[in-house]
C-alpha cells in the first residue's frame, strides 16, 4: 500500500519550525521512510498547481506553521484544508499567533509607516509596496498584507495543535507517531500535557506556599537566582499561566517563561489568567499600594501576551475608530 501523504507548509513564521523538524536528526529518516512528503516548499519542488491538482483529502495530514498575515497565506491554507484529512497547527505562531502576532498592537498602515520610513530608509517619495505595480514592461503583483494577524484556527478548521516556539522534538515525534499509528486524541487537542509549566519546574519545590508580591523586579535590576522561583524574586514568569511540555528550556537557561506554549484548555485568555494570579498576590490593600506595584509593569501586553495576542479575547489593540474591519 502507498505511504500516507504528508504536507508541511509555512506562513508568517521564521523557519524555526522547519529547523525543529530538521533537528529530529536521525529520527527524521524514520519519518521520511514512513510517509510520502507530498509538499514541503522548504524542501521540495514547490508546485502549488500540484496541490491544486490533488483530490480533496488526498493529503493524510498537513503540518502548518506560522501565523496568517497575508491574503496569499489565507488562500493557501484554505486550499490545504480542503486537500487534507488532518490539519495540525504546528508551533506557537499557528497555534496562538506567536511573536509575529505581536503585530496586532498595530496594523498595516502603522507597520508600513514605520518599516518603509525608518532612519535608514531612503524613501523621500514615501513609496509603499503595492499589491499591483505597473511598470513599463507590465504589472507586478504582491499578496495583500493584512491589518491583523490571525491564528491558523481563526482562518481554517484545525484538528490538532503542536505548541511551542519551536515545538520540542519529543512532542513532534509523539504527534507523528500518534498519527501514523492512528492513536489520535479527540479533535482540537493540544498535543502537550494540560497542566501549567510549574508542574514540571525544578523550582517548584523550593517555592514558598505564600509569596506576597511587595514589588516587581526587572532583569535589568537583579541577576536572577538560579534556584528560586522567579515570581518569588519579583520577576515576571508566565509559567503559572502556561502549558507545560516544553522541557523548561528557558528556565534551564535561568530565564523566566514567556508563555510560548499558550494556556491550558480551561483558560480563554492567557494574559488575563496571569493577571488574576499575579495581582491577587500583590501585597497591597489600597488602590494606591496596588498602583505602586502595577506601575512597574510597563508593558503588560508585551509580557502577558508576548506569544498569544491574536488568540486572546480582544485579539488586537483596539483602534480608535468605531467598528472592526
Amino acid at each position: 500500500m502507498s505511504k500516507p501523504k504528508v504536507a508541511f507548509y509555512w506562513n508568517a513564521s521564521c523557519g524555526g519550525c522547519e529547523e525543529a523538524v530538521v533537528d529530529l536528526a536521525e529520527d527524521i529518516l524514520t519519518v521520511v521512510e514512513a510517509v510520502d512528503i507530498a509538499f514541503w516548499p522548504v524542501a521540495l519542488d514547490f508546485k502549488r498547481s500540484d496541490v491544486e491538482a490533488m483530490a480533496d483529502g488526498e493529503i493524510a495530514v498537513s503540518f502548518i506553521n506560522g501565523a496568517i498575515r497575508t491574503s496569499e497565506q489565507a488562500e493557501m491554507v484554505t486550499m490545504l484544508r480542503r486537500k487534507s484529512q488532518l490539519v495540525v497547527a504546528f508551533g506557537s505562531c499557528a497555534h496562538i499567533g506567536g511573536i509575529p502576532g505581536l503585530a496586532n498592537v498595530s496594523d498595516k498602515a502603522g507597520i508600513f509607516d514605520r518599516v518603509y520610513k525608518t532612519e535608514s530608509t531612503d524613501n523621500p517619495s514615501g513609496t509603499f509596496p503595492q499589491t499591483k505595480t505597473d511598470i513599463a514592461e507590465g504589472t507586478l503583483t504582491l499578496p495583500e498584507f493584512c491589518d491583523t494577524v490571525n491564528t491558523l484556527d481563526q482562518v481554517i478548521d484545525v484538528d490538532y495543535y503542536l505548541p511551542g516556539c519551536a515545538p520540542p522534538p519529543d512532542l513532534i515525534m509523539g504527534a507523528v507517531a500518534a498519527i501514523l499509528e492512528g492513536k489520535l486524541p479527540p479533535k482540537g487537542t493540544v498535543l502537550s500535557p494540560n497542566k501549567s509549566l510549574c508542574s514540571e519546574c525544578s523550582r517548584q519545590e523550593s517555592k514558598p506556599d505564600k509569596i506576597p508580591i511587595e514589588k516587581l523586579a526587572r532583569v535589568t535590576e537583579i541577576s536572577p537566582s538560579t534556584d528560586k522561583c522567579f515570581l518569588e524574586q519579583g520577576l515576571i514568569c508566565m509559567g503559572p499561566a502556561t502549558r507545560t511540555g516544553c522541557g523548561e528550556r528557558c528556565i534551564n537557561a535561568n530565564m523566566p517563561c514567556r508563555g510560548c506554549f499558550g494556556p491550558t484548555d480551561e483558560v480563554l485568555d492567557q494574559g488575563a489568567a496571569f493577571i488574576g494570579a499575579l495581582a491577587s498576590n500583590f501585597d497591597a490593600d489600597t488602590p494606591e499600594a496596588a498602583d505602586a506595584i502595577t506601575e512597574k509593569l510597563i508593558d503588560p501586553i508585551g509580557i502577558f501576551y508576548m506569544y498569544g495576542l491574536p488568540s486572546s479575547i480582544l485579539k488586537r489593540v483596539q483602534r480608535k475608530k468605531e467598528g472592526g474591519e
Binding site: 496568517i68 497575508t70 491574503s71 497565506q73 489565507a74 496586532n104 496594523d107 498595516k108 498602515a109 499589491t131 495583500e144 498584507f145 493584512c146 491589518d147 491583523t148 494577524v149 490571525n150 482562518v155 483558560v267 480563554l268 485568555d269 494574559g271 488575563a272 489568567a273 493577571i275 488574576g276 499575579l278 495581582a279 491577587s280 498576590n281 500583590f282 497591597a284 490593600d285 489600597t286 488602590p287 496596588a290 498602583d291 506595584i293 502595577t294 509593569l297 508593558d299 503588560p300 501586553i301 502577558f304 486572546s312 479575547i313 480582544l314 485579539k315 488586537r316 489593540v317 483596539q318 483602534r319 480608535k320 475608530k321 468605531e322 467598528g323 472592526g324 474591519e325
Partner: protein, 144 residues
C-alpha cells in the same frame, strides 16, 4: 450619537452590593436600565477574563461592585479584587479600552442611593465615550 444606549455589565457581590441594589428597588429608586447585573458570591470571584469577555461580547462598560474594604462577608475577597483592578485597568488601557469604561466601587447593603447614583454616573460616562465595538480584525488587506 445621542440615541446611543450603552450596555453595562455590572458584577455585584451577593452580600453587600446585590443587597444594596435590591433595596434601591424596594425603595422604588431609579437606576438606568442600561446596567445589567450579574451576581457573584464575592467580588473576589470576578476574574479579569470575565471583564474582557464582557467587552468582547458587546458590553460598552463594566462595573465591579463589592463590599467596602474591611466589611467583606468573606473577610478579604474584595481586597483581592482591588489588587487585580489596578493591573487590569492598565492592561485594558494598553489594549485601547478607555479606563472610563470600567469601574470598581464599594456598595454596602444599606447604600441603595449610592448604587443608583454610581450606576447613573457610569451610564452617562460610557454614553459620552460612545459604543465599544470589538475591533477583532480579519485577514483582509485594506486598512481603515
Amino acid at each position: 450619537m445621542s440615541d446611543f444606549e450603552p450596555k453595562i455589565v455590572a458584577f455585584l457581590c451577593n452580600y453587600c452590593s446585590y443587597e444594596g441594589a435590591d433595596r434601591a428597588g424596594s425603595a422604588r429608586m431609579e437606576s438606568p436600565a442600561n446596567v445589567r447585573v450579574i451576581r457573584t458570591m464575592c467580588s473576589g470571584r470576578i476574574e479579569p477574563e470575565m471583564v474582557l469577555e464582557s467587552f468582547s461580547k458587546g458590553a460598552d462598560g463594566v462595573m465591579i461592585l463589592g463590599c467596602h474594604p474591611g466589611d467583606c462577608h468573606f473577610k478579604e475577597g474584595n481586597y483581592k479584587t482591588l489588587r487585580r483592578y489596578s493591573l487590569l485597568v492598565k492592561t485594558l488601557d494598553e489594549f485601547g479600552i478607555e479606563p472610563d469604561r470600567i469601574a470598581l466601587d464599594w456598595v454596602s447593603a444599606s447604600e441603595a442611593k449610592k448604587y443608583t447614583e454610581i450606576t447613573a454616573a457610569m451610564t452617562e460616562r460610557v454614553r459620552k465615550l460612545g459604543p465599544f465595538v470589538l475591533d477583532s480584525g480579519s485577514c483582509k488587506g485594506e486598512t481603515k
